[in-house]
Each structure stands twice: as C-alpha cells, then as structure tokens.
Symmetry: C2
Subunit: 325 residues, 2 copies
C-alpha cells in the first residue's frame, strides 16, 4: 500500500502545505482512494502520478471546508480528463445535497455517475481486495476515521518437504503450486499436501479531525500505520481549549498505548510554518511526540510518499521535498 | 489603476495557469476588487501583496465553477486573516443561495458580514472614487462584463497667466491653489480665475465568458483597457463550434473597431499549454490578433501585473514570470 500526502495544513493553506487530502493506493493496480479533498487538491495532483481516471473512491472525514471544498473542482476536472467509470463518494450526509446543489448551480454535467454512500450508514465496504471501515471520532461536527485493509494470499510451495519426498525441482513443482496433483516415480504428490496459502494483510488508519484518540482503540487493532491530526503542540492546545483538535503528545501517547508501529502526524496549524527547529516550528511536535512514543514517527509534509510492504515495513520513498516557489 | 492576473486558464488549472481571477486595484488606497474567484484563488494571493482585509468587493462574471469555486475558501480565509469589515459580493443570482448553503453545510461563521448585490439588478455602483457598471454578454449561462472607472480631479494653477499678471511665485501661489483669494501690490487675485480643475478618468473593462464581443461596444467607450477571454484560436473555434467562447482574432477585430488602446487576452484553453512558439502555443493567439489589431496587445499570464497611469499609459510591471515548479 502507498500513502501520498496532498495537504497537511489545518484550516488554511500555506505556501508549503495545502489543506487536507491524502491518497491511499492499494495493491498492484493503479486504483487509489482519496481521503478528504480540501480546496486545490486537484492542483496538488498535477504534481503526482495519480490519475483521476483511476480514482476508486473519495472518503470525506467531515464537512468542514478545509476537508471538502476541493470536491466540485476535482470532480469537474475528472470529467474533462475523460473519466467515464462511476465514482464512489463516502461522505457525511451533508455532502451529497451540497454537491448536487453545487453541480446544479454551476451546470456541471459529469460524463460519469456518482455513487454516494453516507458515512453514517457505512459498516464496512469491500473494494476488490481492499476493505474500508469507519469509526466515529470526536469533533465540533460528526467526524470519522477510515481504515483501509488490503488482504492478499500467496500460494507457497513447501519446498523442504518436497525435497525430502524426492520430487526434483522443476516443472512438476510449478504444476503442484498451480493446484494440480502430479505423479513421479510411481508416487502421487497431492497439491494440497505441498502447497500452503500465506495470508498477508496491511492496514492503514486515516483520521478526520478528532480530540479523543482513544476512540480509535478498536480500529487500531492490527493497524500498521496511524495517520492522525496533530493541530497543536501541548502548550498551544491548552491555550486553544475546546477546539476539537488533538496535540502531538496526546496522539503519541495513544499510539504508544495501542502499540501502532508507525505514527504519521499531519494537519498542523499554520502557526507551525517553519520546518526548522525552534519556536513556531513543526519540529516541536516531533520533540513532544518522541518523548512518549517508541514506534516510528513521521511528521507529514505535502507530497510525502510512503510505501508499506507486506512485511509491514513503512518507507518514505521521497525526500518529502515540498514544492518550492 | 492596477490589474493583477491571478488565473488565466479556461476550465481547468494547469501547472502555470490557474482558473479565472483578476484583481483590480484602484487609486492610492490599498483597496482592491476581485473579478471572478476560481478554485485556489486564495492560494495565488499568497504570492501577491494584496491583503484580504483590503478587498473592497468581489464581482463574479457568471456561475461556472472555474469562475467561482474559490469563493467559499477565500471568504473563510479572510475571516481567519482577521477581516471584520463588510464585504460586497456582486454576483449572478445563483451565487447567493449557493454560498449560504455552503456556509451552513460547512458551519462557516465569518467575523464580517457579506452584502450581496445581484448582478442582474446592478445599474451602476459607486465605491468611493470607483464606479462599477455591468454589461450582459453572450454565453451558455448569463455572463457579464464589469467596467471599473476611476475618476479624480486635480487643481492646477494657471502659472503662465499668474506670471503675466505679475504675482511672484511663492506662498501666495499656494494659497491661490488652495482656493483662497490673495492681495498683492494693491491687486486682488481671485482663486477661481487662476485655478483650473483637471479631470482624470481611467476605465478598465473586464469580461466574463462571451462569444459576442460586439455587445461591449457601449462599455468600451472611453475604455483604456479591455480584458477579454480568448479561449481558442480561430481554427480551433471552428472545430469547437457553439461553445459560447471567443477566439483571438474575433476579439482583436472588435477591439480594433472600437479603438480600445490596450487589449489583454486571457482565459486560454489548456490546449495552449506552451509559452513557446509553434503548434499548441498561446503565441498563436498573438499572431492572429496582431493581424487585425493595431493597439497594444498582451496575452495575460498568471501574476502579470499592469499599471495604468493618468496619462492612459499601460505598463507591465513584472516580467510576468509564472510560478516555477
């Protein structure tokens, strides 16, 4: 699975961070999911290899503008780009009538259909080999986390057992692996005896705005990666009380408690403009999170591109270099 | 007056051209007008000196998404930036209910009020020394052009007459200019005899999508600058018939007919991506427009910044260098 950050700023865009959007690409196929779609998400996509034709579904975490104002423009541009396949939009109930009003007002006629699924009514949804589930969070408006679990199985030959049984390595091994029983040296080798099915499963949890990480306890069971907002540092959160957001240490403490191996913080307040150390720097988040979290910690930057492999290892593919102006 | 292009692409953004938006700054004050507000106009403003606190009014030419999807985000960010002064929005009737629905759905509470004026009902509107008028255009939906006329008067001494009359240059000249009659050498000099009021007027016309430039004939009377869409070149317009847009030669012919001294073409189809010469280049527009237009012609680029002085001269202040990525 791959995770590509398209916007990592809270509330308003800055020169280096756009408002919220994360792409999740699952499996070998080029299809991908978009979680949230702040204004200018389509502009960010111009700098990525993801195609709007291969977008499988859009999942919106909550109805605040910095998480959804990019939807109408992105849908229109997908039409201009020649998309014809139906597109699923999983979103809190307010989004569907708003989008329909917007499309009607601006006379937007899409060459593909939209399938709306109300987040509130979603238990789990299977998209081929990817399962999507939700968990309600705590924010000023209904907000949700989405988990993406990709399962795959791999047929593996018990090669040591075959060698002991005396079947020479070669085409007969291939037939066994493909499920066919074979005869050799007056002996029958049953495929079912020599082939085992290994199950792989990767799970990524991507959250909307939330001031209570403990609500994610169940969803984080078996998760490889937790992507959670960290709007403030602890001291600033004290000053801006009751805002419905989390601070770095709070999220890190939760991640440590549920032993998620990888934590990616995002959705930073524009107060933390600098990537340098010191006051007003997002690096303050790292300092306070590392005090309590022993897994691997990342502070997301726009265009950071992560790969999670079947061995549950997360790698940052790029240098996370933001657009320069 | 100053004109700053924030978006010059038609329909969809490209890497170097955002969708439609133009800023018009009038007079010595820092206040400015925004004509159209495509998605990510607020992002473009991050690279300009214009402040959302000093925005006087927003005028929307028509309800298509590439001209208005940036409105909600820009209004929200103006609130975050601390704007408290009421903001005028002049827009076709569909915009007001859509914005209100959008604000309600996303729980956007602005710390300033919005004053809507329906374009359809606007005759002319005075904003201090700037007069705004409209003209209906021809497009697939109701579309409008806005003119901005800034008038100022300057009190000028008839210095030659004063010299002939024998009043020595000095403080007495200053008193005369300020409207006070003066005595000198037993002679009375009446201010009204020696001061004349010179009227200056600058006029800029900025158009929405339009396939019939001749509708602008009356509005272009006395205009210094005409900013008009030029979505296609002539050959492409033939192929894309009945789209409601103009091509370069068509607009240039009109501008020549009404003898507008400065024509700025904008709103180029994404087909014309290149700024180099040759096929698929926006420079094709220049070639065909120059064949028929003898005034000064410009092809707008994002962040092109023009100044129109009281002597009716238009200067491109920047090198028009687009953002590089």
């Amino acid at each position: 699975m791959e995770i590509l950050f398209l916007g990592t700023s809270s509330g308003v865009p800055t020169k280096t961070r756009n408002v919220s959007a994360v792409a999740v690409q699952a499996g070998q196929s080029k299809s991908w999911f978009l979680v949230d779609c702040g204004e200018a998400t389509q502009h960010q996509l111009q700098y990525c290899k993801l195609s709007l034709k291969n977008l499988r579904a859009i999942a919106i975490t909550h109805v605040h503008g910095d998480h959804c104002y990019g939807l109408p423009g992105l849908l229109a541009s997908a039409g201009v780009a020649g998309r014809t396949e139906s597109l699923v939009i999983i979103a809190p109930q307010g989004i569907k009538p708003w989008l329909e009003t917007t499309m009607e007002m601006t006379q937007m006629y899409l060459p593909y259909s939209l399938e709306f699924i109300a987040t509130e009514e979603l238990a789990e949804q299977q998209f081929d080999d990817v399962k999507v589930t939700i968990t309600p969070l705590s924010h000023r408006v209904p907000s949700f986390a989405y988990s993406f679990t990709q399962s795959s199985s791999q047929k593996v030959l018990k090669s040591e057992a075959l060698k002991l049984a005396g079947l020479p390595q070669g085409p007969l091994w291939g037939r066994l692996q493909s499920g066919v029983d074979v005869e050799f040296d007056n002996q029958t080798f049953l495929s079912s005896d020599y082939v085992e099915s290994l199950q792989h499963s990767n799970k990524v949890v991507i959250c909307g705005d939330n001031d209570n990480p403990s609500l994610l306890k169940s969803m984080c069971d078996g998760a490889d990666v937790l992507v959670h907002e960290s709007t403030y540092t602890e001291d600033m959160a004290d000053k801006a009380s009751n805002v419905g957001h989390s601070y770095a240490k709070q999220v890190a403490q939760f991640a440590e408690e549920v032993t998620v191996p990888h934590l990616i913080l995002t959705h930073f307040s524009a107060r933390y403009q600098s990537n340098q150390e010191g006051e007003g720097s997002v690096e303050q988040m790292r300092v306070e999170a590392e005090q309590v979290f022993n897994g691997r910690l990342f502070l997301a930057r726009d265009f950071d591109h992560f790969r999670l492999n079947q061995q549950h290892k997360l790698t940052l593919l790029n240098e996370g270099k933001s657009r320069e102006h």
